[in-house]
Amino acid sequence: MAQSFALWAMVSGKPNWPLPVQCLPYPPLFSDGPAVTQVTGCGQSHFEISMTDPILKTTDLTVRFGGHVAVDAVSCAFHAGELTAIVGPNGAGKTTYFNLISGQIPASAGRVNLRGRDITRASVSARTKAGIGRAFQLTNLFPGLSVLENLRLVVQAKLGRGFNLWSMVSRHQDLTDQAEDILARVRLLDQRDQVVSELSHGNQRKLEVALLIAQDPDVYMFDEPTAGMSVDEAPVVLDLIAELKEQKDRSILLVEHKMDVIRSLADRIIVLHNGALAADGAPAEVMASDVVQEAYMGRGLEGILADV
């Protein structure tokens, strides 16, 4: 069932984009639908339409854990200057899809291409060097080090100075300067020398985003960046993401549950359900789509998302 559904996703999900997109039917409704043989990956067809190469493309990306298919042949392309929200109920495979792209989990099948380069088998650090930047759902920092040190490590990694064994850190003033610039951008300069484990949750989330900004990747991947943040704190992070959107040569992927966030930021929504691509299109269409509403047992996307 999931298979035929994925087929549907690939066939009808993408070709219409960025034209209004028709959302995909849920398998039970259309499982006897026309047999489609000429499968065109959504990235491919989009490529024809937009005339630009996608920055990131996944082709039939699949991962199985034992008998369970967590991500099921997801083919999708992500373009420069575009913010794509990835939504779906809990367990739909959003974070797993992220893990496949950033390399934390090896794919069972399919490919990941970054600017045309196949990185499916590359290590996590190699993908980072190639331009994938990932922030994590659960704050994932270096808790015993200072805020500045956290950022400096990222800048240092980017400049490839990790294997410098003999020079003192203090001689690398440029690393500190760059780290401080970013701290100022995310309004954490006052906490510069604080140990991360003593930072408030909101500030830790900000630092999580800051690490990604310091990395300056081609593809930004945010996994619920405002999770657990207070109403006062969340806008700072969202503003930062909005700022990143202005950099037209980057692509941003955002896993998010909050509808208002998606509405204000997303250029495009993809819906994952049971690991497969269920819909792909402009936010208004995806949200309004009857098919998706039906797919979510009549409650509509907003209903589902409000639950989680």
Partner: protein, 356 residues
């Protein structure tokens, strides 16, 4: 000047700076401040153990890697010098070659173990080091033709480092501040300067960008990989570096003792001593190695005497003389460790720097 010698890693606490300064001065002037065969021997051991413990701290405190093979690397360095000195004849060239070959061999072995086990998870490294260390210890005691087996090897160091060598007869009449100017004094300073250079080198390494990456890996290896560091390479590099410094410390030890044997340089007991010294001093700060090694070696050498004296003082009271009897020194050493770990969970240095 001091800042760059210490690689910018200042003590950051006045009591700590005073303690470290005191240890440094005492060690630098040990033959003059505490003349005597046993005291100078203790000072030399402290110097060597500071380096050994500091090199272990590079692994455990900075890299978060648990290894049980540190005495093996120490032993490789010691046997390196012993074997070259025994076969090439006494001479500084034999010491230099033995030390370099020992350090190189230790690094190569560490590379091999590291590449096999650190790829997976750091815990496998601990287990494999345990196995390899035991195997090497058995091998050394079995290959008695080469290593002297359980008896170990006694060898000659250059004449200049032996007690028979006298110097400064014309200017100082062979005596300076009541201390005989002989080869043993030179041997002490050979050990002291060697240890100082190695310690400052390690201090340099942990305060370099590389050292920061190791700390990041210790804190969160998952994220370190994700911001673009190939964690396994850094872990392996730290292991090799730490192994070769431990081997060099072993070479210094061999030069000082003019003897190597499985019990002195390869025993598991020694490994546990190193672990305790790191923990007492404070993991993740090389100054902790300095304090831990000093406290431990002093306790090992003098606690027995101190307790003997204490037990005589309370000879008239019931029970106390029994408890304080010099024979019970190991018991009290154990109690001291438990107390120090309980009261200084972050080690002495951590405590002095104000981290809980």
């Amino acid at each position: 000047m001091i800042r760059s010698l210490l690689s910018g890693d200042m003590p950051r606490s006045l009591p700590l700076a005073l303690i470290l300064g005191c240890i440094l001065i005492c060690l630098a002037l040990a033959p003059f401040l505490f003349p005597g065969v046993r005291t100078v021997d203790t000072a030399a051991r402290i110097c060597i153990f500071i380096v050994l413990v500091a090199s272990y701290d590079l692994l455990l405190g900075y890299g978060g890697i648990v290894s049980f093979a540190h005495t093996m690397f120490f032993g490789i360095g010691a046997y390196g010098v012993a074997l070259t000195s025994a076969h090439m004849g006494r001479g500084f060239d034999a010491i230099a070659i033995g030390a370099l070959v020992g350090a190189g061999f230790a690094a190569a072995l560490a590379l091999l173990i590291g590449l096999f086990s650190l790829r997976v998870r750091a815990i496998f490294f601990a287990m494999i080091t345990l196995a390899v260390a035991s195997a090497v210890a058995v091998l050394v005691s079995q290959l008695s033709g080469l290593t002297g087996g359980e008896d170990g090897l006694t060898f000659k160091t250059p004449r200049e480092l032996g007690p028979a060598f006298k110097f400064g007869k014309e200017t100082f009449d062979g005596v300076l501040f009541g201390v005989k100017l002989n080869g043993k004094l030179l041997a002490y300073y050979f050990v002291f300067i060697g240890a100082l250079v190695l310690f400052l080198t390690l201090l340099r390494v942990v305060n370099s960008p590389f050292g920061r990456v190791l700390q990041a890996i210790r804190e969160n290896d998952f994220r370190a990989e994700s911001i673009g560091y190939r964690v396994v390479y850094y872990r392996v590099a730290a292991t090799c570096l730490s192994a070769s410094v431990a081997a060099l410390a072993g070479s210094l030890y061999a030069v000082w003792l003019r003897y190597v044997g499985p019990d002195t340089v390869l025993s598991m007991e020694l490994m546990i001593d190193i672990l305790l010294m790191v923990v007492i001093g404070g993991m993740g700060t090389l100054y902790g190695a300095m304090i831990g090694a000093t406290l431990f070696v002093l306790a090992q050498n003098y606690l027995q005497n101190l307790m003997g004296a204490a037990s005589e003082l309370v000879a008239d009271l019931p029970l106390l003389p029994e408890l304080l009897s010099a024979d019970r020194w190991l018991l009290w050493l154990g109690v001291l460790f438990i107390l120090s770990v309980y009261f200084f969970p972050a080690g002495v240095v951590g405590r002095l720097r104000g981290k809980r």
